[in-house]
Symmetry: C2
């Protein structure tokens, strides 16, 4: 008789929606309770606690049956102390001691990771990053952010800010970025940037990045040009990351998943063009494995890491 595989608990905290999860060590979701994130942080924490108890009840277990609790949340946050500092998508969350509050309630080893890092862990352990030692996961949505797996482990940097590659400057004379700098990668190649280029090109306020991708797949030359332009910057940004870190795999999420091979091929070509052959050799740029389930998996992957390192 083998010991039953350990249960993991997860909390995914988003600006509009949150979810509590019961899962296993392979990242499978066994129970899930989700809902809108209450605006007040104290109410949000109460909602998360009660959702987690309900998810456990749905699965027929107690929180104390689990090995660890992982939280995936927008940064800035301090993963060492588990304190969340004023994420842009969670107004009013200023220095919330989330890890302490959850440990007090559930008495489980708890880790709070920023969402890009947690998603990188999920893709590395269960998804498109499996088998790679040095990889980056990048979102291409509202913004561009990365989680870095280096020498097989999550690299967080001094204050959990590693992977802010969306704010690397790729065009010193480029357009202003909401962050206050100019020519940031995010201002030129994110879903937000592609949507803005689409609205300008078509003179139509309803155009989104998704619509640009659909039109490009249909052969629309304007849409193709927009994606080519965004890919030029993305390729430059990824090549810079590859020269700095000599990665073997880049996993692209959000828009890259929705837009498929058309966008990925453009990005691959532009990245290669900006790379030394020796740096490019053997690099694969692949879509993220988890679409809408990414955030659930991310929270469980954060729990999985604490369980692994504690085991």
């Amino acid at each position: 008789m083998s010991r039953p595989a350990p249960l993991l608990l997860g909390l995914d905290i988003g600006g509009t929606k949150s979810a509590a999860l019961v899962g296993d060590a392979e990242g499978n979701v066994l129970a899930r309770v989700g809902g809108p994130t209450p605006a007040d942080w104290r109410e949000a924490v109460e909602f998360l606690k009660s959702s987690l108890r309900r998810a456990c009840a749905d699965h027929g277990c107690a929180p104390s049956d689990a090995a660890a609790l992982g939280v995936s949340c927008g940064g800035p946050l301090d993963s060492a102390t588990g304190v969340v500092y004023a994420p842009p998508n969670l107004p009013g969350w200023d220095a919330v001691p989330l890890k302490a509050l959850l440990e007090e309630e559930f008495h489980l080893p708890t880790v709070v990771e920023n969402d890009a890092n947690a998603t990188a862990l999920a893709e590395h352990r269960w998804g498109a990053g499996v088998g790679s030692r040095d990889m980056a996961f990048l979102t291409m949505g509202t913004g561009i952010g990365a989680g870095l797996i280096l020498d097989g482990a999550l690299y967080r940097g001094r204050r959990d800010l590693a992977g802010e590659v969306g704010h690397a400057t790729v065009w010193p004379d480029g357009p202003p970025c909401p962050c206050g700098k100019r020519g940031c990668l995010e201002a030129l190649a994110s879903g937000t940037a592609i949507g803005r280029m689409g609205r300008e090109r078509y003179g139509d306020d309803t155009v989104t990045a998704q619509i640009v991708c659909v039109r490009a797949r249909g052969g629309d030359p304007d849409a193709l040009e927009i994606l080519a332009e965004a890919s030029r910057w993305m390729g430059l940004g990824l090549a810079n990351l590859l020269h700095a870190l000599n990665l073997e795999r880049i996993v692209l999420g959000t828009l890259a998943v929705h837009a498929g091979d058309l966008l990925l091929d453009l990005i691959r070509r532009e990245t290669e063009r900006n790379c030394w052959p020796r740096v490019w050799e053997g690099v694969s740029i692949v879509p993220a494995a988890f679409g809408d389930a990414a955030q659930d998996k991310a929270a469980l992957a954060a729990a999985r890491e604490i369980f692994s390192s504690g085991a």
Copy 2:
């Protein structure tokens, strides 16, 4: 009676000069035998072997008394196998199995590191990087190359190419770089670039980067403008590295050491200007601790690492 501290052996292989070293675990050089690097790689390896035996004899020890042998050498090379692949400064060295040849001779645990990585190890363990967990060491000489210490350990990347930040693109429309790309950091901010700007500005073929620095310290407005220009690019490149890796310390070698605070202050100001305040907070940009002794220390630091991990 305590055990005597372990001896370390080192080999520093340069394009023009090489050296064999006996040192201790604190990076002190106890004996040193140096000379010009023979042009033929077989002769060079014989020279290195005999120099090492002589250095040991000078110190009154045998190679077998040492705990490890570290080699610092220009890349590309494979640190896992210890094979050196055609470094630009060592013509004719094509797939030389240096680690195997040295282990056969001396029967010591041997590691071959590229020189930027080995110097990063030396600065981190004994020099300007002491006490930091996440740091980069960058040369600012003929080229710009980095060694990265992340989470307290050397990060090499998939093929020992991590740290090639000199070939990150910082100006897409910038001047051509000898590597074939355009607007590489190295083409805009290295010692080579500063020397070239000086020769153009003064219409004088004898001007070097060192001379530009001396004139700048004397208040020469042309020289000051050249350093300001190079620092703008260097600051941008360093800021991009900080956003990607959230480092706490940057150690600058070569020209930054010779030029002193004038250049360092310009680089600090430009880096800060290109950084998010949260990313910049607490970062220090400091000169390398080891001037001309850097390569000796680098070889010993490479040996020290293998000794530490084996201990």
